[in-house]
Amino acid sequence: MTMFDSEFTNILWNGEVAGRDPDAEGDYYHITDGQADQNYWQEKLADTIGSLTTVPASEFLILYGGVVSDSGSGQVDISECVARGRDADGNRRLIHIPALTNVALPSGWNDGRPIWVIARYDFKLGTATRTHRAGTSYHYQLNDTYAGDSNGYVSTGTDDLFVDSDPVATDTILGKFTMTGTTFVDLDIRSLTYDQDMKNRLYPVGSFYVQYPDAASNIDATAFPVAQRPATMFGGTWVEQFNTEAITFYTGDEAGDQTRTAGLQADQMQIITGEMNAIYTSGGSVAGPLRGGSSVSGAFKNGAATNWLPAVDTGAGKQMHFDSSGSPNARTGTQTKGKNRLIKLWKRTVL
């Protein structure tokens, strides 16, 4: 679609007609000139609104409202809306539809067929009249209206709100549903909304969103309710990231860190060293088996002094082991973690 291509009456250009400034001075002003100017402004407004979106070339945009819902008895409600769309001739227009309630479907359409609700521009006669020079009274003003208004120039009634073939290429779609008897099923199809477009601009494909827990709970539905997921709040398709890895994020690595595999670095701990004398010595001579002494260092330390020194040829010695799970109040796992709460990290993959 080409935007900003509508033409308007030449009341500005000069230099083509000698003695006339502008050139059109003295010319007749045609009724089609006025119609063209009206179209010019309508399309310019519609194109300007479109330019504010991420998809300026798309003719079909719901600025607000237009929600289609079941009103019972095989009828629907449509909330008030403004949309960017077309008129019956394919011209670009802004369309306003007032709130409509208990709208009946075209006869026989409650047979389960897919039904689209559209926003299409139309106009209708204004209320004021005056007498024409031909002697009859006529409405000299028009109002904007929509397909579905029984007083429209094209539209004959609410049946014109509905179509049963996909209007994706011709009209702004407010909703899609089936009505079987009085059973309404929303098929959840709409043209792009301005609200959604703003969210798409804020969170384009590839964006990340961090969902923090809504409550101190181990229950997923309580801590991370559906209502607070990005797919619910911003629309589109989102994929939870790294949810099997229990990880934190670092800005870079230091020399000596664990090597990364596919970007993931294994847990590691600060090097802790220590030393104990393997055999206790006295005066340079071997004097007994291991016991705390001056050569204990690092992560090991001496306990209370003792004179007990077992003979090497009697009794049975025991090895020394280190197991952190035996520490008082030890909390152990496969990796060392700080105190934390769960978060969910999401990535948008589709608008």
Binding site: D188, V205, D220, A221, V226, R229, P230, A231, T232, G235, G236, T237, W238, V239, E240, N243, T244, I279, S285, V286, A287, G288, A311, V312, D313, Q319, H321, T334, W346, T349, V350
Partner: protein
Amino acid sequence: MIYIALKDNKIVHVCETNSEQGIIGSLNYEGITYYDQIQQIPNDYFQGKVGNDVREFNSNFEFLPLSQRKDYVIIPEGMKIEGEEFVPLTLKEKIDQGLITLSDREKYDEVSKQIMSKTVYELAEAGVITIAELKKYQIDIIKIGFANEFINGYFYSETLGINVDLRRCSGKFGEDINDLQNVQGLIDDFDTLENYEKYYVGYENEVTSSMFTLDQLESLKMEMIRCARNRWVKKRLKLVQIEQCTIAEQIKNIIW
């Protein structure tokens, strides 16, 4: 709503979207082509993740009890399923599964259920240390035994009829607790000492002036000298024996 993509019943993609087109777009975005099924999940709080098997879930797409899905579940490294929970593998199981590799100086001890260092004899038998290194170790053991006996050892004195110490050392604060010197001191001052000063403290019992004579002290002194000499001889013989050994088993049996 949640959609999943499966390949051979394994979840390869999970996303939150409003249509099948959404997950297809997401699969394209992620470059995932290896899927054979797409499924909408009728559970907003589906806990399945990439790698889970779809057969781990009931009809409401909630996890089945662990015991019912043990054939499909991904068991975390170092864990096993016991009843309805993951529990750590035992040390033995970790070793058997290759999660822990023992060095040539370590062994798994079935009694203590711990990894222990091999004894020097086992190290020598396994060729980790040389026979020469084992001999040096065993010689140190003999020397330690010898030294320990000169600190804590005792023998039965035929002369006094009690156990007496074989001490040849100084105390913690440098005091003289060399028993041979003590006996020599008694002998040297025997004529000048008062009776109450004439006593000898054995290993467990004490004898006083009325219980021994100067000759008996001289005899005790000789017993102590001979006993010490015997220990020196014993030590020398064992060291010679060690040097003559050729296999670890022989060396191991030479103890103080």
